[in-house]
Each structure stands twice: as C-alpha cells, then as structure tokens.
C-alpha cells in the first residue's frame, strides 16, 4: 500500500528476506515451542517416565482399557501403550532430526553449487526438479520399496523428498545475491568463492531455510508415520506411532484408546513444528507465504 499513514505502517514491513529478529517473538512461534518442548523432554527422559518395557509381551494383559497401572491401556500383545508412546517419540524425533540435518546439509551444499556454478545447475537443478514431479508420498514409497524398511532408510527417503525444496530456496537466494553490490565489494577486496558464499551469501538465505526446515521436520514425522502405517517404515516391533495406529486398526471397535493416543501425539508434534515454522516465517516476512516460496 503506497498510502501509509506517515511512517507508522511502512516501518512494520521488513524488506523481503532481511532477518528482522528485533520484532517481538511471534505468538505462534512461542506456542509451537511450548508444545514441542515436552515432546522433546519425553523422548530424552523416556526411561525415567515409564518403568515398563515397550516391547515386553504379556498376553493375559492384552487390550486392557486405561487404568492406573496402564494410563493408556494395553495393546493386543498386552504391551503398555504409554510406554510405547513414550518410546515412540524417540523414533519420530530421531527421524525428524536426522532427516532435517541431512536435508540441511545436502540442500545447502547442492543449492549453493547450483546457484553459483552454471554447470552444476544443469545437473542438480534438473534432477531436483524431476524429483518434485512425483506426488510426494509416492516417491517415499518407491524409495522404501527399493531400499527396504528401516528407520535409517526412512530418514533417507524423507531427505530425498524434501531436499529439492531446500535446494530451490538456497539456489534462489544465491542467484539473487550473486550480483549484489556487497558481494562485488567483497570480491574486489579478494574474497574467494568459498568465503563469498559462506560468509556473505548464505547468511542471507538462513532465514528462509530455517523456516523450510521446520516445516520439513513436521513433514518427516508425518511421512515416517505414514510409511510405518503402511508397513514400509520402521519395522515392528519398534513402537513407532504410525505402526501403532496400523496395529490398532483391527481393534477400532473394541479398543478405541489404541488408535486415538498415537494419532493425537503425531498431530501434536506436527502442529507444534508447523506453528514454529509459521511463526518464524511471519517474523521473517509475512509476505513470503503468498509468494509461494514457503
């Protein structure tokens, strides 16, 4: 809007991509962090939160409704659902963190390369664009079918799924700033490619990449759950939230607690990460959303 009421509105809009952390923390961000923290604590403190073994089978105790001894009841093998939920958080977070780190590493490295060197762009750009052709989840299924179900393989397939987006963002930032004056200035005082990229250009892309990674983290948890639900993710008897839902499907008429609790946990984890991502984005520049960058 070009009719700002005299210097009050216009100052609130930060220039695109400039990191404006001076603003007050976004409420969505705060709520997201507050929701995520107990989940992380739960994963770390798992052995102290429950003394029951998530894997120990106890047939006579099967399909017990929630009680003091088993707050979330027991499953069809008589395993304590609370223990499985608590340990399941470790899987979700491990997959999330693992794939986020890999995505960040590959995304930044390949994104920088394809933004900086034209020859690299020809290959990396083409391949990553092509990977985005597949309807997201289908690609994950294909990769899992090829490399077999395991937790580490889930991390790999989530990374392959999400890396093209990060590449695209980083590449766009690099291209945007490649010819910028401050880069030219740094070059004239003798900065090499490496120094230019990592000291001068990458920090500018840091904001959007962070936003994207928090959405990617959320996505990783959803994809892991989905793959495990289909039997292509973390193999049994590991207590993944997704496979808990798959196991519970035969008992939805008799044991509702089996299916509600893990789904609720997934929702909570994904919601908190999405809120963090939304909050980060709005702190960065609210207009990014409609530009379809994030």
């Amino acid at each position: 809007m070009s009719t700002e009421p005299i210097g009050t509105q216009s100052e609130k809009l930060s220039p695109p991509r400039a990191i404006a952390w001076h603003q007050r923390a976004n409420p969505m961000f705060v709520v997201g962090v507050l929701m995520l923290t107990p989940l992380i604590l739960m994963a770390i403190m798992a052995p102290f939160l429950t003394f029951l073994d998530p894997l120990s089978i106890n047939a006579p105790q099967k399909l017990l409704p929630p009680s003091w001894a088993h707050p979330f009841g027991t499953d069809h093998f008589g395993r304590d659902v609370l223990a499985r939920i608590v340990y399941g958080s470790q899987i979700s977070l491990r997959v999330g963190i693992g794939s986020t780190i890999l995505t960040a590493l590959f995304g930044i490295f390949l994104g920088v390369a394809s933004g900086w060197y034209h020859w690299a762009d020809a290959i990396i750009g083409r391949v990553s664009d092509s990977l985005m052709i597949f309807p997201g989840f289908v690609l994950a299924i294909m990769i899992m079918a090829a490399i077999g179900p395991s937790e580490f393989n889930v991390i790999i397939s989530v990374t392959v799924l999400y890396v093209p987006r990060v590449i695209r963002t980083v590449r766009a930032s690099v291209i945007e700033f490649r010819g910028a004056e401050f880069v030219e200035a740094a070059r004239t005082v003798g900065a090499g490619d490496f120094r230019l990229l990592f000291l001068h250009i990458l920090p500018k892309a840091a904001g959007p990449v962070m936003v994207q990674l928090s959405f990617g983290f959320a996505w990783a948890i959803l994809v892991e759950a989905g793959l495990s639900f289909l039997g292509l993710g973390t193999p049994p008897p590991t207590p993944s939230w997704g496979s808990m839902i798959a196991d519970a499907r035969d008992f939805i008429r008799s044991a509702w607690w089996l299916i509600t609790v893990p789904g609720f946990m997934i929702t909570l984890a994904v919601l908190s990460l999405n809120l963090i991502g939304d909050g980060l984005r709005d702190m960065l520049d609210p207009r990014l959303q409609s530009k379809g960058i994030l």
């Binding site: 809007m1 092509s130 052709i133 309807p135 294909m142 090829a146 077999g148 939805i252």
Partner: protein
C-alpha cells in the same frame, strides 16, 4: 495463448521420459533386489536364482536393461505383474477409476470449501471466521490423514452406523452404494488439503487486496463484492491455481494412504501392495500412471495460470 499451450504440451514429452528414467533407476537402486523379493524367504538354490536372473535379463548391465525397458514402457507396456499374473496395464485400468473418483471428489470438496473460506477470511481479516479457519487449517494439516480416517470410521461407521466403514462398490451397484463408500475417504483426504488451500487463498487475497489497483477499483465506484470477486480474485487466482495443482499432487500421494485405510481398491493400494511384495514392475507401472495423472493436472494448472495471467501469454 495457443502458442504457449503448444509449447507447454510439447515440453510434456521430456518430462515423461525423465519420470520413467527416475522410476527405473530408483527402483533398481539396490542391485539384485527384484530377484531376492521374487524368491522371497523360500529356500532356493543358487542355480535357481541364477536361472531366474537370466530369465529376467537381470544379469546384464543396468544400462542395457534400461535401454531395453524404455521402448516398452514408452508405449505404456510395463510387462506382467509377478503377483497378479496379468498385464500391468490391465490391473491399473481396473483400479484407476477408484483413485480418480477419490482424488477428483476430494479436490471438488477442497476447492469449494477452501477457496470461499480463504476469501472470506481475507476480507474479514482478524474476524472470528479468520481465527476459526486458521485454527481449523493448522490442525487439519497436522493430523495424519490415516488417523483422521479411522476417527471418522469410529464415529460415523461404528458408533452412528450412518455410513459403511470401508470397501468399495462400483457405480453399477447403484449411486448410493457407490457414493456412500466414498464419503468418509473423501472427507479424510480433503481436510489437510482444505487447510492448505484456505491458507494460500487467504494469503494471496490479502496481498492482492493491498494493491493500488484495488483502491482504484473502489474509486471507480464498484461495489465491494465486485472489487473482491472480479478485481482481486482474478489476480489471486494465478497463485491459487498453482496451489491447487500442488494440492492435487499432494492428494494423489495421500490417496495411497487413504485407500489403505478404507480398503479402496485403487492405484494407491496397488502401489502399496506392490511395494510390500516387491513386485517391481507392478510398482513401476502403478507409480508411473499415478504420476502421469499428477503431470496432466500440472499441465492443466499451467494452462489455467496462463489464462489468469495475461503477462505470460506470448
């Protein structure tokens, strides 16, 4: 417009080629995997494995295999399914309509709820509807669709008994028999999509509503309805069509899961079965045809984009 459309359609051919190539190499990423799955856990002698390997041509270099495979699949022939023992194209054709109904219906639901809600949230920004739709879309996008599917089954099929819990009947069994089994899957599939479309519609409408030409449209004496629905919406449509395309692709991916929850015999379920049984040619065929749908939708979206945005009509 015509020229642009033509160019866009021609560029479709290399995309298909790339898709096929990626499918081939990803499924064969791990050497020897098709054969190990074929024999499964049965005790098979090394000679037998060798025989099968030679039979399938798996002993030759991967590039040779690729060059032999490509001409067949380019005409849509993915060979026979190891599991179904019939041509893949037939299996796909049988199951294709189910997936198509699911995705098309959920797209219709998504657009007809998501867009109006997003527009309304944008023009009544900060109002009750805005907050409610934001909360709704945040939660909708965070819920795993398969979990939502089971919750719907628990409520509407098990408790209330209004709708069948799962399964599929073709329209030949009567419209209600057919539709009633699609209602819950479509809802489960749509919720996250609606969330996405609401948010993007809202964001792009807000951006457009702040433009000078909107002030100008008001200054001409247009009614607010006309300002929003003519001047703002057509501009926002360029971004919204892109999102709708993305949502559709996402929905096709999601249909894989939804079909498994509701036991719908569609392409997604077929792909899952093929992946679990490691029926590779089935997997390749299923994924290719599913991706093809996504590509066609993408093409339509691009053409719609050109329609809404005169700046890219050449």
């Amino acid at each position: 417009m015509f020229e642009y459309a033509l160019r866009r359609i021609i560029s479709f051919i290399p995309t298909i080629f790339i898709t096929l190539t990626l499918i081939f190499f990803i499924t064969r990423m791990v050497p020897g995997s098709p054969i190990s799955s074929l024999v499964g856990h049965q005790a098979v002698s090394a000679e037998q494995i060798d025989a099968i390997t030679r039979d399938l041509g798996l002993d030759r270099p991967i590039l040779v295999q690729y060059l032999e495979w490509l001409p067949h699949v380019l005409i849509g022939d993915f060979g026979n399914s190891l599991f179904y023992k019939q041509p893949i194209i037939e299996v796909v054709a049988e199951r294709f309509p189910v997936t198509l109904y699911l995705t098309v219906f959920s797209m219709i639901v998504t657009i007809s709820i998501g867009m109006p809600l997003g527009i309304y949230a944008a023009i009544r920004r900060g109002g009750a509807v805005d907050y409610a739709s934001n909360a709704f879309s945040s939660i909708g996008m965070a819920m795993p669709s398969f979990w939502l599917g089971f919750l719907l089954i628990i409520v509407f099929a098990v408790s209330l008994g209004w709708l069948p819990a799962s399964g599929y009947r073709s329209p030949d069994f009567g419209i209600w028999n057919w539709l009633s089994r699609l209602i819950l899957p479509v809802i489960a599939q749509s919720l996250a999509q609606i969330g996405l479309v609401v948010r993007m519609t809202r964001a792009s409408m807000i951006e457009v509503m702040g433009q000078e030409y909107i002030t100008m449209a008001r200054a001409k004496g247009l009614s607010e309805t006309r300002v929003v629905l003519k001047h703002a919406l057509k501009n926002a449509m360029t971004q919204i069509t892109t999102v709708i395309g993305l949502t559709f692709a996402l929905g096709l991916g999601g249909s894989v899961i939804i079909e498994n929850v509701f036991a719908l015999p569609g392409l997604g379920q077929l792909i899952t079965i093929a992946a679990i049984r490691r029926d590779y040619s089935m997997l390749e065929g299923g994924i290719f045809y599913l991706t093809l749908v996504a590509l066609v939708v993408n093409l339509i979206v691009d053409l719609a984009y050109a329609y809404f945005n005169p700046r890219i009509r050449y």
